[in-house]
Amino acid sequence: MVACLLSVAAGCGAAGAQAQVGPQPVQIGVLAPQGPAQAAQAWAHLEPYLEAAVPGRRFEIRTFDLPDLSRAVAARSVDFFIANSGFYVDMEAAHGASRIATLESPQASSPTEAIASAVIVRRGRDELRSMADLKGRRVMAVSDRAFGGFQVAWRELKQAGVDPYADLASLSFSGFPMQQVVLAVRRGEVDAGIVRACLLESMVQQGQVREDEFTVLAQKGGAFPCQRSTRLYPDWPFASLKHTPNDLAKRVATALLAMPRTENGHGWTVATDYQPVRELFRDLEIGPYADLRERSLKGFLQRHWVWFALAAALLAAWLVHSLRVERLVHARTAELRRALEQRAQMESEARAQQEKLDHLSRLGILGEMSSMLAHELNQPLAAIGNFARGMVRRIEAGRLDAAPLLQASHEIADQAERAGGIMQRIRGFVGKRASRREPVNLRQTLEGAVAMFCSMLSHPPAVTLRMDPACTDPWVQADRLQVEQVLLNLMKNALDAMQALPPSERRIVVECVPAEDHFRVGVTDNGSGLDPTSVGRLFEPFFTTKPDGVGLGLAICQRVVEAHGGRIWAAPAPQGGVSVFFTLPRTAHAQSHPPE
């Protein structure tokens, strides 16, 4: 492919120079499906006509078969070509060929409906009537790349459920000229032949065969004058190539359109639409729509299957041998790989689990702390109470022994110290990390917190994140983790407030609204709401409306928000729940901190 492109590039300069020099004749490549002699004769009139119509340029007609013409186009050794529609569409995609005129044939009523195939059988083969009847028969065509001579019929075969490469007893290609196909059918070498429509009629006219020797399968009606088995496609185009100078192409096109019809009725008209051809190629997955080599390889394999079978047998024998040797290695390797994969999977599962647990603990931190705190503080407080009451009773009873009273006093002091230690630990727990301030993208933080919150719950409520359109670049100077904890806490509160609702009706809205110097974040639930006195006391430490709450969550949120220079407050939501809002001061996004 690379080599091909290189040769094309190299040819470009040469062709350009050639066109400018002038004396070099303009090369017109012509496809010769019925042999070079016939083609040369058929197109002989073009040379003198074009030379007359385009003064100062000489024209040379050269005949090619399909592969040669294709090579000539690739090598830029022709400036124009005349060929069938299929070849043209192929070249259009591969080498940028561009049609400048379409042939008008005497037999076609319209240049867009000029080409078809005829599938011929020897007359008297009554068992062969439709395309489907060809299944399991010997069929011949001119070439697998012939358009009217094969591909057009292939499409009809495919639609009739016959894959010519798989369902036929044999598929052979005669090569040009196409008349050989007709003769092979007549000799009975094959059951059916695929030829371009009108070939049979022209052969009859020239006396090469008799009309009553053949039948055309699956005949279609219509204005087309020849017998055909397929639908109609556009006639042959006259095409220029990418390297063909524009003004030359234009002058040739004008000349062609002005050309009077020849005595056998051929003329040129405005270039028509070749879309039906592209559709055919797409249907068959060939031409520009597939790798042609794959098809020809398949054909090659079909022709030389014996050798391939032998080679395959040898290969299989060798394979069996090496398999026997390597089977153990393979088994061991597979085992090892499985074990490694299993381990990797377990590790990743464990990691995911750990991450989830981390998140969970961060969310549940205050809830966990509340019961822990209650239990741990209960012990020293109850002990202090007992010692103190005991001392009171002793003193009241006049039992003033110094030793037990002193011991109790020491105990009280110890227990008070212990309670203080517990408080110290809780404080350390809450503020474990040193607070960090850095530019934080609020949008990402909100999205992250919402995702985290939802991922932690087996039945998360519907959480809607509403970003004000003006919140395009919401950067705040903050400790992302702390802001996340505030958000998680507020969402947890919102969820707790909706416990009375059925899960499907629990809704949380998280929104961000920009203001001049800050962003306001709101978390709103659709729970039953709070009475006005409770709303006023929400942020007092140890104020709680939950049966198992400690009343520290919002107090801690307040501490965090205020430490960030923001404000936090609650308000009844219009639709009945509660909204908690907090603000964070805006910051200019520093260039040195690109978004994560």
């Binding site: 012990q379 109850a382 109470g385 005991g390 109790a408 227990q415």
Partner: protein, 213 residues
């Protein structure tokens, strides 16, 4: 009748893994004149306790090795009949119900008023003593009964069932006069003043002797 057990023999056992809590309850109990003894876990308490100990147990529900409820169960299996006052840091209704079903005397939630604990202790002590006294009376009667001769035992059982001498004589194949002599000896040896008193004393013995007679 034997004398009631004096209160100063009774001990309050405190089993709690929290040292501060344990010592404070012991101190509080001692402050009002009880004997009290603390244990850090159920196992060391079980090792120290004897079946006939008088007193009550103040027990923490949640302990690391053997929970309060498990200790309660073990004590029942070993026939240790001490009233138990449970103390818990968590209001747990189902736990309380289970403890009370298993015969707990009281279930207190921390923090509790000292008076509530002391009242519970006093009531548990009374219950323990009553149980113990009943057991002692039973043991005395049983011992006296064992002192009787075989014939006297037969007569005693019949008298306790309220049978007249004549019926007893017929049943045992002896004369009514002989029965009367035995009856006198039985009443003397059992320290009973009348047949009715003997019947009352003999109730547990009767229940035990149901089979052979």
């Amino acid at each position: 009748m034997p004398n009631p057990t004096p209160l100063n023999d009774a001990t309050i056992f405190v089993v709690d893994d929290d040292a501060g809590m344990r010592r404070s309850v012991v101190f509080l109990a001692e402050s009002v004149g009880w004997q009290a003894q603390g244990f850090a876990d159920a196992e060391s308490f079980l090792a120290a306790i004897r079946p006939d100990t008088v007193g009550c147990l103040v027990l923490d529900v949640r302990m690391p090795t053997m929970s309060g409820l498990e200790l309660q169960h073990t004590m029942q299996q070993r026939g240790i009949d001490l009233p138990i006052i449970f103390i818990t840091g968590h209001a747990d209704v189902s736990l309380a119900v289970q403890a009370m079903k298993q015969g707990a005397a009281e279930f207190l939630e921390k923090p509790f008023r000292d008076q509530a604990l002391l009242d519970a202790i006093a009531q548990a002590m009374r219950r323990s003593l009553a149980t113990l006294d009943a057991r002692r009376v039973h043991r005395t009667v049983q011992a006296q009964f064992e002192q009787l001769t075989a014939r006297e035992k037969e007569v005693a059982l019949c008298v306790a069932r309220g049978q007249p001498n004549r019926v007893i004589a017929l049943a045992l194949g002896i004369s009514a006069r002989t029965v009367q002599v035995h009856r006198q000896h039985v009443l003397e040896k059992m320290q009973a003043h009348s047949a009715a008193e003997l019947a009352a004393l003999m109730l547990p013995v009767l229940a035990a002797a149901q089979g052979p007679v």
